[in-house]
């Protein structure tokens, strides 16, 4: 099957979920869902060998050919790695959720539909080669994650968190779209591969920096980099399987993916390197520092995720340095990209398992507050083991995979001393120092997470539930991930060869022709060098600080809430909400007459302006058709009827006069040989008169006060303006012969191309079918609107005038 169709399989499977949930309610819906990511994972895994050799797959599904927009699935090392993460972790998370979410109490049909939509969106993001469809999938991940975070939508916090994540990520997404458009203007294509091919020319362009910054805004918001990270802790209101999946393994890594994917395009720029590496490193330190302030287990993990994403981001920034060095493939600089990808895989394994453990603790004890927890070690031995493995890996201890990637991270940061451009020869030393500080805090919060939950004194009276070990089913996924954590430590080079090297070759195509050329060997023991001493320092200082944590933790309370970014966000939301309200209250008067005045005056202004700006106004009476007696009579009737409406003293007269106007227009259509229009007009007039009569029953009499309508000069001016404008437009449309009449085109093609004889109908259903489709959709909406207005109104206001 074509690869591009595989992207849509989860979203198609989502169609059946409500059915499965309703009909086969006794079986947990998750079991059916599990098949989708599992099958996809196995299928994609079969592509591994050839991608490992440097092979790529391209598959295309055209979508809007006239705009050159297509779904292009491009599978190389980088996208395959992410695809495997999405489907693999996805399968484990679904398995976990089967035991986590109760089939009787939870709205599983909603949950799994959102999850499957998300899966498709994520596959689309990492496989799209076309920037526009990439953006489409990107926003789809924002929307599905919004729905997932707000899954328990009756809780205020859930809705707040969902809105916050959406506001921030969609803001970034829109910025990114701007960047994409600039890229396409510069390169003349939306294809990432083609853009990469012309990277050096792009770098010369004036828009280059703009595109770079805008794209980075998208990546930073999605990957929760400073200062946009504030949505991620609030997103922890989502059910734990969602946090494990979206907020640690997949969606937040979309930003990482984007930066990695576009590195070949942007790496030439100094700004790119400074921004990506700088923001990443700062985020890492900042978030690892504030992780210790958290008391919620998932809050700690959220900050740790932010921090680790910053770490990966900074590595990608450093990897861009390799672009500027001759023979970088042989220097230390080559380690950065490898370390980034390697750590990304490791992070997915250990953070996934940690999130699941946090969920288990929450599920089995009823709380996630680390101050109430403690001493669970003997009660939940399996969970403790998994948590220990995950945390120590995160802390960077052997024999766990986090140790390996942390060593490589330090190596990569130290490698900057070889780099002597962009004033790096002076400033490079900051990078390893900041990285080291961040690592110390990472070490502390990892221990904090596991030991304050599982060691210490058990306080059963603090827990809502009696703690006990989780059921086996819930433990399968975290145990499996923890096993991977250990396994990867012992076979790092297998993972390196199969997964990391192809991805690295995709990030740095300018260094390597094929994944085999990536000459990096991971080893647990790398001799007595600077990295080792830095690691020992981390353990020593970190251990000491953890030991004395109670003594200095209250320092965090000194940090004032008033200047936090969260506060800034809240204030901004309040301000924009209130401001928008105040602004719209000025012009939204609630009277339809005000709105009509706005619309008509604006329309008159715009049309007249266009007419005069284009010097399009001409009058040419030379070839007008003769006006017959019939036309004059009908027009007189028309004018008479219109004037009657204005002067009528009862509604009945007004309605009849309105009918007369409509029928006269229909007669005009007959005379001008437009039977279609005449027919439609006649039937519509008939039906609307019937409708008026029905509504008439409910309407009050026109009161004496309203009878004498006051003459309003402003309104008269607007009315006159509209009339004059329309007349002018009609006259100049007749006189203009700049372009051939479009009716000629229809006359010629209507039979040849559409196989029809009736131009009006062919236009309706064929040439302008889209218009008709949306028109009937609008009709349907109008019908629903009237039902809600009349049949479903909440209170019946009897005896009240409706136009009051």
């Amino acid at each position: 099957m074509s690869l591009v169709f595989l992207i849509f399989i989860p979203i198609l499977a989502a169609l059946f979920i409500p059915l499965l949930f309703k009909r086969l309610g006794q079986i947990h819906t998750g079991w059916f869902v599990l098949l989708v990511p599992a099958a996809l994972f196995l299928y994609y895994a079969t592509r591994l060998p050839s991608v490992m050799e440097g092979g790529t797959y391209v598959s295309e599904l055209s979508w809007i050919p006239s705009l050159d927009i297509a779904f292009v699935a491009y599978l190389d090392g980088l996208s395959l790695l992410f695809t495997l993460l999405i489907t693999g972790i996805g399968a484990l998370v679904v398995l976990y959720s089967i035991f986590y979410l109760d089939k009787h109490r939870e709205q599983l049909h909603n949950f799994y539909v959102y999850l499957l939509i998300f899966m498709s969106a994520m596959l689309g993001v990492v496989q799209s080669d076309h920037l526009i469809t990439l953006y489409l999938f990107w926003e789809l991940t924002s929307i599905s994650s919004f729905l997932l975070i707000a899954y328990w939508y009756t809780r205020d916090r859930s809705r707040f968190g969902a809105l916050k994540s959406m506001m921030i990520t969609v803001f970034g997404g829109l910025m990114m779209l701007g960047g994409f458009v600039l890229l396409s203007i510069m390169g003349g294509t939306y294809s990432i591969r083609e853009l990469i091919a012309q990277a050096p020319e792009l770098a010369q362009h004036d828009f280059f920096i703009w595109a770079l910054v805008l794209v980075l805004l998208g990546a930073f918001t999605k990957s929760a980099q400073f200062p946009f990270y504030i949505w991620l802790p609030d997103a922890m209101e989502a059910p734990t399987p969602v946090s494990a999946y979206l907020h640690s393994a997949t969606m937040v890594k979309a930003g990482i993916y984007l930066v990695a994917r576009l590195t070949p395009v942007f790496a030439l720029s100094e700004v790119w390197m400074w921004l990506v590496a700088g923001v990443g490193l700062f985020t890492m330190v900042w978030a690892s520092f504030f992780a210790l302030k958290q008391t919620d287990l998932k809050g700690i993990l959220a900050f740790s995720t932010v921090s680790q994403l910053g770490l990966i981001m900074s590595l990608l920034g450093v990897a861009a340095a390799a672009y500027h060095v001759e023979g970088a493939a042989d220097s230390y600089l080559k380690y950065a990209a490898f370390a980034a990808i390697f750590h990304l895989i490791n992070h997915a394994t250990f953070k996934g398992s940690l999130f699941m453990i946090a969920g288990i603790v929450d599920h089995e004890t009823g709380t996630r507050d680390i101050r109430k927890l403690g001493g669970l070690m003997s009660l939940m031995p399996v969970s403790f083991t998994v948590a220990l493995i995950g945390s120590l890996s995160m802390a960077g201890l052997p024999p766990f995979n986090g140790f390996l990637s942390k060593e490589m991270f330090l190596t990569a940061m130290l490698s900057l001393q070889e780099f002597n451009m962009f004033s790096m020869d002076v400033w490079w030393v900051l990078f390893p120092i900041i990285a080291w500080i961040g690592s110390v805090f990472t070490f502390i919060y990892s221990l904090y997470f596991v030991f304050h939950t599982f060691a210490g004194k058990h306080q059963p009276e603090q827990l809502p539930k009696k703690a006990h070990e989780a059921p086996i089913g819930m433990l399968i996924s975290p145990v499996f991930l923890a096993a991977l954590v250990v396994l990867i430590f012992f076979i790092p080079n297998l993972i390196g060869d199969w997964l990391v090297k192809p991805a690295v070759a995709a990030i740095q195509p300018f260094l390597y022709d094929s994944p085999q050329n990536v000459d990096i060997h991971v080893s647990a023991w790398h001799g007595f060098n600077t990295e080792l001493f830095m690691t020992l320092g981390i353990f020593a200082i970190g251990g000491l600080m953890f030991w004395t944590l109670r003594k200095w933790q209250h320092l965090y309370d000194l940090y004032p809430d008033a200047i936090s970014l969260n506060r800034l966000y809240d204030e901004m939301m309040l301000l924009s909400d209130g401001g928008a309200n105040r602004f719209s209250r000025i012009y939204m008067t609630g009277f339809i007459r005000s709105y009509l005045v706005y619309m008509f005056s604006f329309m008159t202004f715009i049309v007249l302006l266009t007419l005069f700006l284009n010097e399009a106004f001409q009058i040419d009476f030379s070839n007008l058709a003769p006006i017959g007696v019939y036309e004059i009579v009908i027009l007189l009737a028309l004018v008479g009827a219109t004037l009657t409406i204005l002067g009528s003293k009862s509604r009945l007269t007004a309605i009849i006069a309105l009918g007369a106007v409509g029928y006269s227009v229909a007669l005009l259509f007959v005379i001008f040989r437009a039977p279609d229009l005449a027919l439609t007009q006649l039937v519509i007039e008939t039906i609307s008169v019937a409708l008026f009569l029905l509504a008439f029953y409910h309407l009050p009499q026109i009161s004496r006060k309203e009878e004498r309508m006051k003459f309003r000069f402003g309104n008269a001016l607007v009315a006159l303006g509209v009339g004059v404008t329309m007349t002018l437009v009609a006259l100049s449309a007749h006189s203009q012969k700049a372009m051939p009449s479009i009716s000629e085109f229809y006359k010629e093609t209507v039979y040849k191309e559409a196989g029809g004889g009736n131009i009006v109908n062919v236009i309706l259903v064929d040439y302008r079918g889209f218009d008709t489709l949306f028109e009937i959709a609008v009709l349907g909406i109008a019908g629903i609107g009237i039902i809600t207005m009349i049949r479903l109104r909440l209170t019946k206001k009897e005896g009240q005038h409706e136009n009051k």
Binding site: I684, V760, N761, L779
Partner: protein, 140 residues
């Protein structure tokens, strides 16, 4: 309100069918001569409205137990399905297909996928018009 207008009722019984037949004719002929889904739908709706005027809404609802909201939804779905069907044949959205067939009884006839789309338009127009009129008419 109940009415008992014998003349209107007797005439309606005959006229309704004439209008309906005309609506069907105009609907099918739409692609070649004046007509189409929009007018056809409106005419059908006007026939039903006539029935409702001559008799009363509860009676007509008993005779024609149609949920007009569902009807318009079905129409919209048909219209979208017709437009999307073209994707399956790997041509742009909304591409129509037509050909001439030699059918028994009818002789050479043109069959056009636009007709399917027009059915959607027809159903939506009937559905929405009747929804509006019925809702307002039933409202006390």
């Amino acid at each position: 309100m109940r009415t008992n207008d014998v003349m209107l009722q007797t005439a309606t019984k005959v006229v309704t069918f004439i209008i309906l037949m005309f609506a069907v004719h105009i609907f099918f002929a739409g692609h070649y001569t004046p007509g189409g889904g929009f007018v056809g739908g409106l005419l059908t709706a006007s026939a039903i409205v006539l029935l409702m005027l001559a008799f009363d809404i509860p009676t007509i609802k008993k005779i024609l137990p149609i949920n007009y909201v569902v009807l318009s939804a079905v129409g919209l779905l048909i219209a979208i399905a017709t437009a999307s069907a073209s994707i399956v044949f790997d041509v742009p959205f909304f591409t129509h297909a037509y050909d001439y067939f030699d059918l028994p009884l009818f002789g050479e006839t043109s069959l056009h996928s636009a007709l399917l789309f027009d059915i959607g338009v027809y159903l939506v127009v009937v559905g929405v018009t009747m929804t509006i009129i019925q809702t307002i008419g039933e409202d006390e």
